[in-house]
């Protein structure tokens, strides 16, 4: 029998695996210290000493990408976690109970949703100050509405199903029905939206850092590196190119994985 390969899943796994490996190795070992400057290596090109060259302070770009992806991954994971957690709670309650609670929460949701997520994050950052954790909170809040909507629509679909009636009949309470009987049924939709949300978070973090209000120096992040590289884009294109490629790989890997899961 000829097996049909799920190329999305395979390629996605390879790319994501590669990036995760890079990040994991980066936790324990980087070729150079990502924050040590060396005036001798300023703008060094690609060589065996510095595989991807050096930046304007003579810091090794490969090491900085390894550290920077770590930060980006942390921010993206944290953002998606906050967004999913509160999104699921809001979506579950509004979808399951409906009525006035639904109206109030969903209108608030609409207001938050109407702002572009970067703009909203800007507002929160100006309130909270900038930094890694502030970015996570700001983006997380901006991501809640999209998850809430998805979960709500799934709950609306499931709440009148026979098996939910059956659970109610067995004497299960509302919370038990919501989170033990219905929530697992939303998994397929939730997982792919988590993947998409993760990509958006990576891009949003890169965007914020690019604007200089995200992760603060000396912390490395992919967006921060891009923004630092823009003044040297013609003299030292590698400086801008490699962090950019890293962002592309991270996002591409996860969106392929998401697509792959959907097809499984």
């Amino acid at each position: 029998m000829k097996k049909k390969y799920n190329y999305n899943l395979i390629i996605g796994t390879i790319i994501t695996g590669f990036m995760l490996l890079l990040i994991l190795v980066g936790i324990f070992y980087t070729p150079y210290d990502p924050e040590t400057m060396s005036s001798a290596d300023k703008m060094a090109g690609i060589s065996f000493q510095h595989l991807l060259g050096c930046d304007n302070f003579g810091r090794d770009i490969l090491s900085r990408i390894m550290k920077g992806s770590q930060t980006t991954l942390l921010v993206a994971t944290g953002t998606v976690f906050i967004g999913t957690f509160f999104g699921v709670i809001v979506g579950a309650f509004t979808g399951y109970f409906g009525g006035i609670l639904d109206e109030i929460l969903m209108r608030i949701n609409d207001v938050v949703f109407a702002f572009p997520s970067i703009l909203l994050a800007l507002v929160f950052i100006s309130l909270l100050g900038s930094g890694k954790y502030q970015v996570i909170i700001a983006l997380g809040i901006a991501f809640i509405p999209s998850f809430a909507r998805i979960v709500r629509s799934e709950f609306l679909r499931c709440k009148n199903m026979d098996y939910v009636q059956n659970a109610r009949l067995l004497g299960a309470g509302n919370l038990r029905i919501m989170f033990i009987h219905i929530l697992p049924n939303t998994a397929t939709v939730l997982v792919s939206s988590i993947m998409i949300g993760f990509n958006n978070a990576v891009l949003a973090e890169a965007g914020l850092s690019f604007l200089g209000i995200g992760v603060q120096p000396p912390d490395a992040s992919l967006g921060r590196m891009l923004s630092e590289a823009q003044s040297y884009i013609f003299t030292s294109p590698g400086y801008a190119l490699f962090p950019g490629i890293a962002i592309i790989l991270l996002v591409l890997g996860f969106s392929l994985l998401g697509e792959g899961f959907k097809k499984e």
Binding site: G99, D162, Q165, R168, L169, L170, G171
Partner: protein, 263 residues
């Protein structure tokens, strides 16, 4: 045990109130099998849902009383109602294909009411679940315990539903057209199963159907409904032999008969 007095159900979905059940009266004693028959839309399912406590609280107006062991299920609090649901009153639905949660294993679903109403350990629950799965004539209960609903056939799922409903040994089982979606041979097996539970555990059964030939085999007492009203009720044998109302006669005439074709 169960006493329904002057039950009326009204819906306010549209601007005009619609009454779907008028002054319904019924009494179920331990070990009774009562048949509730009537055409589609005659209010039999609504009555059953009201007894099971599944009618929405908004948009419906219920009058009358449903006494279950002297507690009025219509006016008691939701938490009080939940103590009875699944433990003393349980229900089997018409559609076995959608009544099981597609992402949970059979064993988990059969055990659910034990988890809600008893404090048995995991091993005791497993034992009980296996025993009840064997009781409903499923082969290899250990294997079925670990399967997902989509791996079972319709008849098997309906047995699983009955097992899940019977695991707490309820006093009243409401079977809402449990055999409609199944083919005839499976129907007969399910009916036999219900009779066995009735004999062994003295479970009272409220059997809702529009299939009179099944009701004739199974029930002691029959209530005929039409348009939300009780048209006629009485002992099954008597009712089938000497139907009084025109509607009952028509229903009985609709049963296909096995007779030699006349030449």
């Amino acid at each position: 045990m169960l006493k329904v007095e002057d039950l009326s159900i009204e819906f306010y979905d549209n601007t005009i109130a619609e009454t779907v059940v008028f002054d319904f009266n019924m009494e179920v004693k331990e070990g009774d099998i009562i048949g509730l028959v009537g055409e589609s839309g005659s209010g039999k399912t609504m009555t059953a849902l009201a007894i099971a406590g599944l009618l929405r609280r908004h948009g419906t107006k219920k009058k009358g009383h449903i006494y279950f062991e002297d507690v009025d299920l219509l006016t008691c609090t939701r938490s009080e109602l939940r103590k009875y649901q699944g433990k003393d009153i349980s229900m089997v639905f018409q559609e076995p294909m959608t009544s099981l949660n597609p992402v949970k294993k059979i064993g988990w679903q059969v055990e659910e009411s034990l988890r809600l109403h008893t404090k048995l350990s995991k091993e005791e629950r497993y034992e009980k679940a296996i025993r009840i799965l064997r009781d409903v004539d499923l082969e290899n209960p250990e294997e079925i315990y670990r399967k997902y609903p989509h791996q079972l056939s319709g008849g098997m799922r309906q047995r699983v539903m009955i097992a899940a409903a019977m695991i707490c040994e309820p006093k009243l089982l409401i079977a809402d057209e449990p055999t409609t979606a199944l083919d005839v041979t499976i129907q007969a097996q399910i009916v036999k199963l219900l009779i066995r539970f009735n004999k062994e555990n003295h479970t009272a059964i409220l059997f809702i159907s529009h299939d009179l030939s099944l009701v004739k085999q199974l029930c002691h007492h029959v209530i005929v409904m039409q348009g939300g009203n009780i048209v006629e009720q009485g002992e099954a044998k008597e009712l089938f032999k000497h139907p009084k109302e025109e509607y009952t006669k028509q229903l009985i005439a609709a049963i296909p008969k096995c007779e030699k074709p006349e030449k």
